[in-house]
Symmetry: C2
Subunit: 196 residues, 2 copies
């Protein structure tokens, strides 16, 4: 159960995610967010203290939501292809429907590729967790005999993430109605290589 302060903070972070999705993490300011949620700037400072803390809390909020909406449903599916497909399906929905401008973490990776500091460190750590999750799903598939024992799980995770990035580019940037077809055809080719 959340306290009132905590649930206010969650509501503010929901709004921050929405803004950062289109304007980037750098487009997020305590002043702008305060106006947006109808709070005073000093009220917001009490929650976040600095722009950097706001960026970090927003990213942490995004990662928690991603775990709930993409990772958790995948882990409920049986090991093997079903689990990999569940991950992929929820991930495409996440990129398409969750935020107006797509996943804030993907945007932040471009924004912070050459800016040192805690935001970049947090992104690196989160991405490594994600790679671990994907490779664990692939290894679970190997353990139940769905995927080849000699499958290069690091390469396969790299390729799965590349398909999601390609989907995002086609869907967000080109507004290409074939984005999903291309992504699914690409996944099918990856699965053919991964199978026993």
């Amino acid at each position: 159960v959340l306290t009132k302060g905590e649930s206010t903070k969650q509501a503010i972070l929901d709004r921050a995610l929405f803004i950062a999705s289109t304007d980037g993490l750098e487009g997020l300011s305590i002043g702008g967010l305060a106006r947006d949620v109808g709070m005073s700037k000093s009220g917001l400072f009490a929650h976040f203290h600095s722009k950097e803390q706001l960026q970090l809390d927003t990213l942490r909020h995004a990662v928690e939501r991603f775990v709930g909406k993409v990772i958790a449903p995948a882990l409920k599916a049986p090991r093997g292809e079903a689990r990999l497909r569940a991950l992929f399906d929820h991930w495409l929905l996440w990129e398409r429907d969750e935020f107006p401008g797509g996943c804030v973490v993907q945007t932040a990776i471009v924004e912070f590729d050459d800016r040192e500091g805690p935001v970049r460190s947090f992104l690196l750590e989160s991405w490594r967790d994600l790679v671990d999750t994907v490779t664990n799903i692939l290894r679970a598939g190997i353990s139940v005999g769905a995927f080849r024992a000699d499958l290069d799980v690091e390469l396969c995770a790299f390729e799965l993430m590349n398909i999601v990035s390609g989907y995002r580019r086609h869907w967000r940037f080109f507004r290409d109605s074939d984005a999903e077809l291309l992504a699914r055809a690409s996944l099918a080719a990856l699965l053919r290589r991964a199978r026993l």
Copy 2:
């Protein structure tokens, strides 16, 4: 032969590309660029008139350079796998070495995915030209019997571009020394599927 005005403009655009590579097109301003190249702001306004025009000219400059450094060497290689590999090799070098923060067009695609206007239109057009170039290279490979006649060239182009994006993410963001290994292993898998 370039006139003095043209070669000054080229030198300014070289610098603009350098800045936009790390700061994004939105991080590029006529005032900032003027300070950077040691010209007056009004002198720079005479060349570019507006921030939007500066962004467009910078992108056009990037595309011209990409054609010279990536497309032209690829088209000099024999049709088939050699040409596709030449394209890929020069493209990785482009992402790695050409600018301090990687290709400005890739960054701009994230910056302008939801901003309508001439910059977005130019990016769309340039990207379509690039997709056409890649699919033509694949079709040339089919015509010389290097690739399967039923190869889905659109899908293959999508996947090739996804590998380059993945390389960029691993190299720029994770600073992962395995970035090139992953990208080359991914290309090898793509070529195995494409071959007769």
